[in-house]
């Protein structure tokens, strides 16, 4: 396991070795994700209609001018779908990052110190995961008030326990290794031991899970928007676009694009996550 | 055409990557008459188990089997799956090494035995098959058969499980029983009981038995004849007495040295080194790197089986000195 840290993404040679080992489906997943990140970064330069402007007649089916048709306000659905990435991708990224940060810190403390700290944090985890995720997210988002920020907070609250459990299990395992015991015997402070000797060896499962969860967060964010607790119209968020489509039943194309967009992200992350897990599992076994 | 089982030049190859093949079994000739007991002895990797699995087409997918293997005159190699299935468990029964993993842990033992019966005779009801399972338990001396048939494998002790496994293999009165390391996973005392059981069954039922083992001591009291295998080949073959008392191959001699003798004073002898992998066989006689009698010629060519007067032996320099005189 010691060489796991040496080949995590972020170190060029390790990253290259990793890429070469990934199965083709995982490569496809990675390419799809890169495409969406590229879209988010460059969408303002694309020759697309303004997603908020009326650019044609209302509720037009797909045509050469409007690839995915127009919605109830005559806006270009294709342009709105592509712009939707600007909402969904960064938010999912932020939510996963916050959930990983909160969960990992609490999980690491829990696993490393044990005792009271462990008891309290783990009971908090137990209670949080006792709720079905969407209901908890809905309750938190509704109580905080609708809006994308509050929906994001709600999703972090739903997701942190997963990472707390993962990190706790990892820390518990690594803690028992000799080099950690040596460091403690050498008089290093507990936080230093945790930071320098334990945590660097604990990231692999978290990273794999975060990759998988990225798609699920996109899905939940869209679900909350669909319900009306996330992004508000007229923003071209995928979930709220589908919700608009649901009220315009016969104009199926309004919902088609955003649905396909969500699908590609979810598929891509599960492909990539699976591939990463295969590579790391093979190495550790 | 009285022979029960006869193999000629049986070869097994496994894909070794890059379109290459690794030969796991390099041409094996064996024969067994009805009611006879053949012991196949060798270390793991010698090819002894896969040779028997190949007969029943139970090797993993991708293995390539060539040569001939006839069961009562019928060619088994290349036999259609539907026909080989009619032989499996019906004419040829199998007993495996570890009865705990060989039984399905979530099904009752009785049901598993009854299945062996109903698979080959649809006209038998499940109830009648279970009754037959009880009778088979009596045959292999499992106490309280009526209660035992409705238990799960984990409720049996190791020895009882192996008895049940034997009962299952005997369910359809096979003419041939293949027992693959049937005692290896068991305690020493239980081993002796299972061997006694096999001996009794062979006497009572008159079935042919192929006993695969790494332990010459296991076959010594049971087998009529013995084939010693090394590196995918038979290195020595003969009647049990001849193999023990007129040992011609240094490897067999090593194995006999590895048998703990009851009155033995000297330390237990062992053959140094490990058996070769099928992907990396030494040139010439594949035993030469471990052989204490090795000479330069041993690397040159693969020795073929030659009659030494008593046993058939594949060695460039067979041990001429008969062991019988030394022992007595």
């Amino acid at each position: 396991m010691a060489d796991t840290t040496a080949s995590l993404p972020g170190q060029t040679s390790g990253a290259m070795r990793l890429v070469r080992k990934l199965p083709p489906t995982a490569m496809i997943g990675a390419l799809i994700l890169l495409f969406w990140i590229f879209t988010v970064l460059t969408i303002q330069f694309w020759p697309l209609a303004n997603p908020l402007d009326m650019v044609g007649r209302r509720l037009q089916p797909p045509s050469a001018a409007h690839w995915l048709g127009t919605d109830a306000l005559g806006r270009d659905v294709f342009s709105r779908t592509m712009h939707g990435a600007v909402w969904s991708i960064p938010i999912a990224f932020l939510v996963v990052a916050c959930a990983v940060a909160v969960g990992s810190v609490l999980g690491a403390l829990s696993g490393f110190f044990g005792g009271w700290t462990d008891g309290i944090i783990m009971r908090l985890v137990d209670v949080t995961v006792a709720f079905p995720p969407i209901l908890l997210a809905m309750a938190v988002a509704a109580m905080l008030g609708p809006g994308l920020t509050n929906a994001s907070v709600a999703m972090v609250i739903v997701w942190w326990p997963i990472y707390a459990r993962l990190m706790r299990a990892q820390v518990l395992e690594v803690k028992e290794r000799e080099h950690v015991e040596a460091a403690i015997a050498g008089g290093a402070g507990p936080l230093r031991v945790l930071r320098v000797h334990v945590l660097p060896l604990c990231w692999t499962p978290t990273l794999i899970n975060a990759t998988m969860d990225f798609g699920q967060v996109v899905l939940l964010a869209a679900s909350l928007s669909f319900i009306g607790l996330g992004a508000k119209p007229p923003s071209p968020e995928w979930g709220s676009m589908i919700s608009e489509g649901a009220t315009r039943f016969y104009s199926w194309w309004i919902a088609f694009g955003p649905g396909m967009a969500i699908l590609t992200v979810v598929l891509a992350t599960s492909f990539l996550g699976d591939g990463l897990r295969d590579v790391f599992d093979r190495r550790s076994s | 055409m009285n022979t029960l089982l006869e193999t000629k030049d049986l070869r097994i190859e496994f894909p070794a990557g890059d379109g290459k093949w690794a030969e796991a079994l390099c041409g094996v000739d064996l024969s067994l008459d009805p009611g006879e007991v053949l012991g196949i002895v060798g270390e793991s990797g010698s090819g002894k188990s896969i040779a028997m699995m190949a007969l029943l087409q139970l090797l993993p997918k991708g293995a390539r089997v060539t040569g001939s293997a006839r069961f009562k005159g019928k060619e088994l190699i290349g036999m259609a799956p539907s026909r080989i299935r009619q032989l499996r468990g019906k004419s040829i029964g199998c007993v495996f090494q570890d009865p705990l993993s060989a039984f399905n842990s979530v099904l009752r033992i009785g049901d598993q035995i009854a299945e062996a019966i109903t698979l080959h005779d649809r006209s038998i009801s499940k109830r009648a098959a279970l009754k037959e399972a009880e009778r088979l338990f009596e045959l292999v001396a499992i106490p309280q058969p009526a209660k035992r048939v409705s238990q799960y494998p984990h409720e049996f002790s190791g020895g009882m499980r192996q008895r049940a496994m034997i009962a299952m293999a005997l369910a359809n009165r096979p003419e041939l029983l293949i027992a693959d390391e049937p005692t290896t996973a068991l305690d020493v005392t239980v081993q002796a009981q299972i061997l006694d059981l096999l001996r009794d069954l062979r006497k009572d039922l008159g079935i042919g038995l192929v006993l695969i083992t790494h332990d010459l001591g296991v076959v010594a009291g049971l087998a009529d004849k013995i084939a010693v295998m090394y590196g995918g080949r038979i290195v020595e073959r003969g009647t049990t007495d001849d193999v023990f008392y007129h040992t011609a191959h240094p490897y067999t001699a090593g194995l006999i040295g590895a048998v703990p003798s009851l009155d033995g004073d000297g330390p237990l002898q062992q053959i140094d080194g490990t058996p070769p992998s099928i992907f990396n066989r030494p040139a010439g006689c594949s035993f030469h790197p471990r052989c204490s009698y090795t000479q330069p010629a041993c690397q040159a060519g693969v020795p073929s089986l030659m009659n030494t007067g008593h046993t058939d032996c594949a060695c460039h320099f067979p041990l001429v000195k008969p062991r019988a005189e030394v022992a007595e």
Binding site: A130, I134, L135, L144, G259, S270 | E115
Partner: protein, 337 residues
């Protein structure tokens, strides 16, 4: 194992307390004024109502007392009054629960059946086109947003081709069967009304399929990997040596072994089912607690959201408990110890 279940049973009251506490905290968070979570804006100017609510929930008292009042009200089944229906939330939920249960159970059956069938197919024909197709179909189910696949299928199957009826549990202006279980399909059969049963069934079919499809992915994946592993194990070789054809080895030997891991994830899939049910109900105008929750969330009907959340958590806990017990019961190796 018994000790484990006992431990789980003992932990349940504590978890329930935790769930109630979280709900309490959430209700206190509401825009800084807990009153807003209990009284609709329109009635804020009515002192009678405001005072009655304040007294019942102890709103003028310090936090610990409010907490005790909250728990006391919950224990009596009082989750407040819905802003939009103006009826007790508990009553609303009780009325809608059967619709959701009917949908979730039907989806569970469809999802498990499809998962088993696809898992068996792809294990039997692994490495072939059938394997790939089965896995892609399963993967799509778990990757598609149900509110989207539901919408598209509804459009194609109902609007375009009229293969299935539209939304709701029954056609408009058709009376439901006399209430026994609250499941329209079962009640129609109990009433001996077969045409009504068919109507209820045809309305149930599509939403249950959409929801079941969502869990098919997890189940297929698990079943396939358990089966493929099982086929390589010793017991499969024994079965082949007995003369069992591959189909029998798969179905009679590998499948029972795959059921045990399957049982352990059924509790886990229940979380997906609840999530999916909320969204599926919204698309199919299914009058269950999911669509109730969605409407409550959209209209900021706090008592209703809180109530659904608590009920959902209790259902989730029960599902996990049932899973544990089923697991212990199904696994003979565990049963003895």
């Amino acid at each position: 194992m018994l000790a484990y279940i006992l431990r789980r049973l003992i932990s349940i009251p504590f978890l329930l307390l935790g769930v109630a506490s979280v709900s309490f905290l959430l209700s206190q968070m509401t825009k800084g004024d807990p009153l807003a979570a209990l009284v609709p804006e329109r009635q804020m100017s009515n002192p009678e109502i405001v005072n009655a609510v304040k007294a019942q929930w102890g709103l003028d008292e310090p936090m610990p007392i409010r907490y005790v009042r909250y728990l006391g009200n919950l224990l009596q089944g009082d989750m407040g009054t819905s802003f939009s229906t103006r009826r007790p939330v508990a009553l609303d939920i009780a009325e809608r629960l059967p619709a959701t249960l009917e949908l979730v159970i039907a989806a569970m059956i469809i999802g498990t059946a499809m998962g088993l069938a696809l898992g068996l197919l792809s294990a039997r024909f692994r490495g072939t086109v059938i394997d790939s197709l089965a896995r892609i179909f399963a993967l799509l189910g778990s990757s598609l947003p149900v509110f989207w696949s539901g919408l598209i299928l509804l459009y194609v199957l109902s609007v375009r081709f009229s293969i299935v009826p539209g939304t709701g549990r029954l056609p408009p202006r058709v009376d439901p069967p006399p209430d026994v279980t609250g499941f329209y399909t079962v009640d129609a059969l109990l009433a001996g009304n077969f045409p009504l049963f068919l109507q209820a069934l045809s309305h149930l079919a599509l939403p249950a399929f959409v929801l079941g499809w969502a869990v098919t992915g997890i189940i297929t994946r698990l079943v396939r990997s358990s089966l493929v592993e099982g086929l390589s194990l010793d017991y499969a070789r024994t079965a082949r040596a007995k003369g069992a054809p591959e189909r029998v080895v798969l179905v009679r030997h590998a499948l029972p072994n795959a059921m045990i891991p399957l049982l352990t994830i059924l509790g886990f899939t229940f979380a997906y089912l609840i999530t999916g049910a909320v969204l599926t109900e919204a698309i199919f105008s299914w009058p269950g607690i999911g669509s109730y929750a969605v409407r409550a969330a959209a209209s900021l009907d706090y008592p209703a959201i809180g109530g659904v959340t608590i009920v959902g958590a209790v259902a989730f806990l029960l599902a996990n408990l049932v899973t544990d017990i089923a697991y212990a019961w199904a696994n003979p190796r565990i049963k003895v110890h």
